[in-house]
């Protein structure tokens, strides 16, 4: 049975019709295209897709925002706000990138001392 290969390879996608309120934890790549209200705790690559709308405190490893996020984002490795992405909240990560065309209101706190270690851990995991 190949039940163990599919979700792991692709990660999970929360589709556009999904609405979730509460606490979400995951340890696999995750793409959110739906609406999430609450908290997200994540230990791998988290992407808020273009249709994604998240009103939550986010804790992740690598966070990419192409949709809308209202809330603070904390990442162990990096946070990227893509073109078209909207973020209202503070960002705390060793590496932060905001692409031209992104909409961002908030503080950035970069703890660069963690940068090397965070990256190393990421390669280890892969």
């Amino acid at each position: 049975m190949d039940s163990n290969e599919s979700p792991k390879d692709d990660g999970s996608i929360l589709g556009p019709s999904l609405r979730f309120k509460g606490e979400l934890t995951a340890a696999e790549d995750l793409l959110i295209e739906g609406q999430v209200v609450g908290n997200i705790k994540h230990s791998r690559r988290l992407t808020i897709g273009k249709n994604g709308h998240v009103k939550a405190q986010i804790e992740g490893h690598i966070v990419t925002i192409a949709g809308t996020v209202e809330g603070d984002v904390q990442a162990q490795t990096s946070v990227a706000v893509m073109e078209g992405g909207r973020l209202n909240g503070d960002v705390r990560a060793p590496s932060v990138s905001i692409v031209d065309g992104a909409d961002f209101n908030g503080n950035v706190i970069m703890d660069t001392s963690k940068r090397g270690r965070g990256a190393g851990r990421d390669t280890e995991k892969r």
Binding site: S6, P7, D10, G15, R19, F20, K21, A26, G49, T68
Partner: protein, 184 residues
């Protein structure tokens, strides 16, 4: 990166038979095979490590490998895959259980309890099948089919996604989020 995201939602075909519960029943592995092609809009897979605490609602067909602590309100088909655990009530059109459910299950069309399933709770559905080998403690209520059909007919015009989709997130906060989203 953005390109990747787009490709996930590109016009890939629907997983053939993914929306057909009978096909999934025929091959126990079907639910697991589907996600790759079905990663398009039609089918949503919630992976093993996902833990939801709270309310979920959705319209896309859903295959759950992870854990949900709370309720699921769905307008399509929900499959709790082997390894999936739900602690809470499940409402959907068709429900297939291969994993564990602690809570009541209410399907407007049919509910299937597969041999690998553990269900502690009641089932309400016009069509119910419990396959030999399944663990089930609870009661089954089958609303008369005629009544169910009549209900469907009455409900059909109103079943445009909008009103139904709002019901599960009645909380003002969620309503605000939805409101904001639809404005721009």
């Amino acid at each position: 990166m953005a390109r990747n995201i787009m490709s996930v939602f590109g016009p890939n075909g629907r997983a053939p038979g993914a929306e057909n519960p009978a096909a999934a029943e025929a091959a126990p592995g079907a639910a697991a095979v589907a996600p790759k092609q079905g990663a398009a809009l039609a089918l949503m897979t919630l992976g093993k490590t996902l833990v939801f605490k709270g309310e979920i609602s959705a319209d896309e067909d859903l295959v759950l490998f992870g854990r949900v602590e709370g309720s699921i309100t769905h307008t399509g088909s929900v499959t709790i895959a082997l390894g999936g655990v739900v602690t809470g009530n499940v409402h959907a059109r068709t429900i297939t259980i291969r994993g564990t459910v602690e809570g009541d299950v209410e399907a407007t069309e049919s509910a299937t309890v597969a041999p690998s399933a553990v269900l502690n709770g009641d089932i309400v559905a016009p069509r119910v099948s419990i396959v030999d080998g399944a663990e089930f403690n609870g009661c089954v209520k089958m609303p008369p089919r005629a009544a169910a059909e009549a209900k469907k007919v009455v409900k059909a015009p109103a079943s445009a996604p909008a009103p139904e989709s709002k019901a599960p997130l009645s909380d003002p906060e969620a309503a605000r989020v939805l409101g904001e989203r639809s404005e721009p």
